[in-house]
Amino acid sequence: MIKKTSYLWIATACYMLLSIAAYAQNDYPDNSQLRQRLQKLASQSSNASLQSLAKTEGNNDIWALTLSEGNADEKPAIAVFGGVAGHHLLGIDLAVRFAEDIVANNKELLKTTTFYVFPNMSPDASAQYFSQLKYNRQANASKTDDDRDGAVNEDPFEDLNGDGVITIMRIEDATGEYISHPSDARILIKADKQKGQKGKYKVISEGIDNDGDYQWNEDGPGGINFNKNMSFKFPYFESGAGEHPISEIENRALLDFLYTKWNLYAIVSFGPQNNLSVPLKHNPAGTSKRVITSILKDDAKINQMISDQYNEATGFKGGKKNTGSGGDFFQWAYFHFGRLSLSTPGWWIPEMKIPKEDSVTVPNKDKNPEVNFLRWAEKEQLTNYFTEWTKVDHPDFPNKTVEVGGIHPYVMINPPYNLVEDISNKNNAFIYQLAAMQQNIRIVNVETKATDKLLTRITAEIYNDGLLPTHTQMGDRSRWLRKIKVAIETGNDQVILSGKKIELIDRIDGDQSMTVSWLIKGKGTVKITAGAAHTGNDEITVKLNN
């Protein structure tokens, strides 16, 4: 009897789990839903293998999914990243959807390209989206003294109006610097003295001054941002950066993994930075010093070409460039890791135009993104994206009018979930196009010529069949991308009279080739191999002319 009951329980539990899994998702996945999706993918496909690189300080997994047919590490590889910024839930979903899509619909590609997918690099921070108190958190769970005053987490946000989200406070005060925006009074902007404007409000994030230092919410829970802890232009001693680059478990675990992947040539990030809809420009001043701070000339051309492909593949318009900030991942991947580094937020709010027949709406002359957002949200009939300004009694401002309100966290960079499928399909289409341009080393135009009975001259061209170069110009300088190795294997009775047994070639541009030749004394056949893990390998057997 007892046994039967427990069977029933298990069956019920299984049914419940299945029904949860089958139920269409209507919001971004939290960490446990992400884990379920990844585990499902890995268990259902022989092309997918899942590993946890590390547990973060907040005890969340850093997942790495390897997608490949055959030996993953021997093929050129692209890495795809989500959760680069912890409040960018869209990026997480786009990364995992990409993995799901390629396994379901584009398996053939896995024979020639390996994909390493890291769906969430900021799991401690992204969890905030699903918690009781929502705010734009990017920091992990490391305990930090954000204001460096000796006390840890002593002044967090407070949800003063009880709406579950942290917005802002405006305090009526003649010394304040803010006024209402002329085309939407709900939005606050800085007063411009040049235009005869005087400030009316002080603006502070929602909360109280817990430690009495006349600063508000300057040291809350957490932590360090994944996207601020990398080594390129590391922002020393800024809040969220860490005490030194790569101080965090997740940053370190990721790099330890990436540095073993000699086959990796491109990194696609879904994150705040954007060099896909608008390419980076070469700046000679940034490449003339010892420390390089501008994309190199040849690489800027590649970026332009890829960017054109992105805009064409996605059909997206109006994306704003974001060339990066100190300690970010996107710049690290290029400047310090030498890989082709591509980043896109994946989606942005379209610019709202006022129809000609509308004479009521005040034009958003300065293209204020918040005003634009509110207009878009209204058109899309979103709910729950703005808290109207309401008065609160604030202990720090006893005799002043204090109102809490404003745009909710998350909503300006994460679209409503029903839009995500379409966004994902468009971004996936781009990644497939990128893989189609991949560099590919082949040995072509092999000729043998007898100069004597026992002497054979072999000439061949080492050809890059792809559109991308075998090495970015930066990668050519890096010790972390291998050279193209051309080697000839000869037998016992064969002697190389001229030509190198092993030749290392720095770089071959897209659709370009290099000629190699050998003079061999002997009979039979020799084997020629060419390539490197990230360029693809080719080999041929050549019969000597006798």
Binding site: H244, I246, V291, R479
Partner: protein, 580 residues
């Protein structure tokens, strides 16, 4: 008294061990103390030879076992090959809280073949413990400071340098394998000790095309010949360091152990390999350095640091990179100069220099992270200089040949001998052995250790020493009292370097009043004119002082009521805790 106790212990030990230990130490009646050196130390160590990582550990244990109240031995982490990174923490553990005293960090041997630092570290721990209670200066140092000494932060490659095939210059790197020639293989073509003398020396070959001849007055030496020289003797060509083409790629010794430079790995203005040759993957990707960084981050009491390299006789301060010049401002340079110039006096033949302009401009060095990243005044000493050969400043390449012949009787040189090389045919192999040129010769080593230690102790002495004085109480009516106190720093180093102040690296110093109801508090900027800065805080009893400058003071004031037994406590991360 101490001597008497020691003799008694020795007698008991001798009975137990069957007089074995009598061979370890002298009877007190048999010795006479030389000034400045422990007269009859409990722990006997020969400072005229070098020790492997195992040897260093054994010495560290002897010191720790002999002086359990003065030394704790711990490991701050593991090396790449799994060796422990041993640290001797030396202080008077019976006084104060050890890790809250101003701390001085010492390490050595970050470069594998630069070995003397470990012996200096051991010498320092030995000297401090043996002289505690015997010498007032040392006693005071251990009463109010703590020394964190890691003799070697690179034990794997130290072991490799001593026990495997190497030249005086190899390995510099740690032992994590790297693909130097980017052919897909790791460390596949290193040196080979072809003549079996334990060192990698040089290869030369008789050749009519060569540009060298043997010095007719000294067959050890090679002389370069120029285009105008008339050569009447056998010409030679030089073929580089001893080795063969192990991987058959037509090159000799092109992918050796390593190569990365552990001193390009530190997290201040780190740059990747294409900009800074020798950088590994990312800041602190070398596990030994990571262990040091984690220790330092967990020990904000460290206020001074020293790292020992070789060679050249230099006392170096940052910045390491030209790009970092603005990091070091005038106030801090004054502190560096005072200590560095003293060092140049204490260690004849050594020069006080700045890395980026006097040596080379380099990113990711240890001393830059200690200063730039942590605000810790740090020096790097390049141990040993040819000055030591004949105690003169002449820099003449013949000196080392003369020294080898006249003072160490040819012990440092392997004479040229013929060898049948698989690629080069009949060649000759010979040259200076690996323990000569950079390593201090045995009979000079104790002096080297002592002088460098003396420099480090001077630096450690000048870490902040805080005291509370001139506490005054003044009634200001209505039951209110104004309490004023002066917080002094008697030494050269401030509680916060200017780099620290610029970025608030370390928290402020706290000056806290207990035993009264504190209503407000302030820093007294100018007592005579009544200029003060009030503290904006909900906890006015705890005054936050951003810095207590070197050889200077800060005045603080509280306004209180309901005064009982008042107590003032200064709590400074780098200056320690004092109460009154």
């Amino acid at each position: 008294m101490r001597q008497y106790l020691y003799v008694t212990t020795l007698l008991i030990a001798s009975l137990i061990l069957g007089f074995q230990s009598a061979t370890q130490a002298q009877n007190a009646q048999e010795v006479f103390q030389a000034a400045g050196t422990p007269g009859n130390p409990k722990v006997q160590i020969s400072f005229n030879r070098y020790y492997t990582p195992d040897g260093l550990e054994a010495l560290a244990r002897k010191i720790t076992n002999a002086y359990p109240d003065l030394v704790k031995l711990s490991s701050i982490g593991k090396s790449y090959e799994g060796r422990e990174l041993w640290m001797l923490s030396v202080t008077n553990y019976k006084k104060g809280v050890a890790d809250r005293k101003p701390g001085f960090y010492v390490d050595g041997n970050i470069h594998s073949n630069e070995i003397q630092g470990a012996e200096i570290g051991i010498y320092t721990a030995w000297y401090l413990t043996e002289m505690y209670g015997e010498n007032d200066f040392i006693t005071e140092l251990l009463d109010d400071r703590i020394f964190y000494i890691v003799p070697t932060i690179n034990p794997d490659a130290r072991h490799h340098y001593m026990k495997e095939v190497n030249s005086p210059n190899s390995p510099r790197a740690g032992l994590i394998p790297l693909d130097d020639d980017l052919d897909g293989f790791f460390d596949e073509d290193g040196f080979d000790d072809l003549d079996g003398d334990g060192s990698v020396t040089s290869m030369r070959r008789k050749s009519a095309l060569g540009n060298y001849i043997v010095d007719p007055q000294d067959p050890r030496k090679m002389i370069a010949v120029g285009p105008d020289d008339v050569v009447t003797t056998q010409r030679y060509e030089l073929l580089g360091g001893e080795g063969i083409d192990n991987d058959g790629d037509g090159r000799v010794n092109e992918d050796r152990k390593g190569y990365y430079d552990p001193n390009r790995d530190w997290g201040w203005n780190w740059q990747p390999d294409y900009i800074q040759r020798g950088a590994y993957k990312y800041p602190f990707s070398v596990p030994e350095n990571r262990a040091v960084a984690d220790f330092i981050k967990a020990h904000p009491n460290v206020a001074g640091a020293q790292s020992y390299h070789n060679s050249g006789g230099m006392i170096l301060r940052g910045p390491g990179a030209r790009e970092d010049v603005d990091t070091y401002n005038r106030a801090d340079v004054r502190v560096y100069d005072a200590i560095g110039k003293k060092g140049a006096k204490l260690i004849p033949g050594y020069r006080y220099l700045v890395v980026y302009k006097d040596l080379y401009s380099v990113f990711g060095g240890e001393l830059d992270w200690f200063y730039g990243g942590r605000g810790i005044y740090t020096f790097t000493n390049e141990i040993f200089t040819s000055f030591a050969y004949y105690k003169n400043k002449e820099r003449n390449r013949n000196q080392r040949y003369d020294f080898d012949k006249e003072l160490i009787f040819g012990d440092a040189f392997t004479d040229w001998k013929e060898y049948d090389h698989p690629t080069y045919g009949l060649i000759e192999i010979g040259g200076f052995k690996k323990n000569f040129g950079r390593n201090t010769p045995g009979f000079l080593l104790e002096e080297e250790c002592h002088r460098n230690m003396a420099f480090t102790l001077y630096h450690a002495w000048h870490m902040p020493k805080l005291s509370i004085s001139d506490v005054t109480e003044k009634s200001i009516g209505n039951g209110l009292t104004e309490i004023t106190a002066t917080i002094r720093n008697e030494r050269l180093i401030p509680t916060h370097a200017s780099q620290d102040l610029k970025y608030n690296i370390e928290r402020p110093d706290y000056v806290t009043l207990s035993g009264a109801n504190v209503l407000a508090s302030m820093i007294v900027d100018n007592d005579d004119f009544g200029v003060t800065t009030e503290q904006l805080t909900k906890t006015p009893e705890k005054i936050r002082v951003e810095n207590i400058p070197g050889v200077s003071f800060v005045k603080v004031r509280w306004i209180v009521k309901d005064k009982k037994n008042i107590k003032i406590t200064v709590d400074s991360a780098k200056g320690g805790i004092v109460s009154r």
